[in-house]
């Protein structure tokens, strides 16, 4: 890649942080959604276990 691409015509300090921030937001969305699902699954398993132990 040539340096012209990375310098973005002198706007690199505005262009690259924008792309970085948005892709960080996308990555966070995916991570948080998966974490939310895993936590919900654990809560459901706990509820099932508690229901099973109740006479």
């Amino acid at each position: 890649m040539n340096s012209g691409f990375w310098s973005m015509g002198g706007y690199a300090r505005f262009v690259w942080p924008c792309f970085g921030f948005v892709f960080a937001v996308l990555a966070w969305n995916l991570w948080a959604a998966r974490r939310h699902l895993a936590q919900a699954r654990r809560r459901a398993l706990r509820a099932i276990a508690m229901a099973g132990s109740t006479p």
């Binding site: 262009v15 924008c18 921030f21 948005v22 699902l37 699954r41 809560r43 398993l45 099932i48």
Partner: protein, 244 residues
């Protein structure tokens, strides 16, 4: 058609179908965002006025578009839950809210970074910027309201009501650049007929927008499955679903 619609109100059906769609949406998102990035950063020509700074459009516009689209989805789902008392409506609304809030934040941050070299300031109390900020507050309000009630059903109803009322902000965001003097440029892509943007710049943008839409669908499906499990914890079908 109505049978399919009614099946969408069934939590076990949606939980199962959402799992099937996630890999397809993620694959489509990776391909379209990848193509959009390569084309937008590598091949689209620089703008004659803004130079290479215009390339921020490839993340700013999809983020802004998704912030409004997600809000509309959330409000429609909330209204369905409110009017027809369909639990899945509230589950979709709850799943969509954090995704929409993150897209709104991304639109505001990228807009601010674009504004600095073009307008000479990171922030101005411009109609478009202010209404987008109000949208972020609406998302935060809807999420806070939902979690503020001890009874989840009351929280769902209150959040749905606020999201439906907040829909009034969407046309204001869209037409703010027409109704008032604004630093923000007018519509370029959404103009019916001929868009005010060169085709070689437009294609990567459309590809990115499609990619963001697919990504949103994938993340919504994942979050929705979590919401369903939380809401249906006591149902017998959950026992088989979480153990498999």
């Amino acid at each position: 058609m109505w049978t399919w619609f009614y099946r969408l109100a069934s939590p076990p059906y949606v939980y199962r179908v959402a799992a099937l769609w996630i890999p397809w949406f993620l694959t489509a998102a990776a391909i379209t965002i990848g193509c959009g990035l390569i084309d937008g950063l590598g091949f689209a020509p620089p703008d004659y006025q803004q130079g290479d700074a215009f390339r921020i459009i490839y993340v700013h516009v999809p983020s802004a578009w998704m912030s409004e689209f997600t809000y509309a989805c959330m409000a429609v789902a909330g209204a369905i839950g409110l009017i027809w008392r369909i639990k899945m409506g509230h589950a979709v609304a709850a799943a969509a809210a954090p995704i929409g809030a993150s897209f709104t934040l991304a639109a505001l941050v990228t807009g601010s970074l674009w504004g600095r070299p073009m307008w000479g300031t990171y922030w101005a109390w411009d109609p478009r910027l202010t209404t987008e900020l109000i949208l972020l507050f609406l998302y935060v309000g809807v999420m806070s309201l939902r979690s503020a009630f001890e009874d989840p059903a009351r929280g769902d109803r209150a959040a749905a009501l606020l999201s439906v009322v907040g829909v009034v902000n969407l046309p204001i965001i869209h037409y703010s650049v027409v109704w008032w003097n604004s630093l923000h440029q007018g519509a370029t892509v959404a103009k019916l007929g001929k868009p005010d943007i060169e085709l070689s710049m437009l294609w990567p943008l459309l590809s990115m927008m499609l990619g963001f839409m697919c990504f949103y669908a994938a993340v919504l499906c994942i979050r929705l499955r979590g919401e369903i499990l939380d809401r249906e914890r006591q149902a017998t079908w959950v026992r088989e679903a979480v153990k498999s």
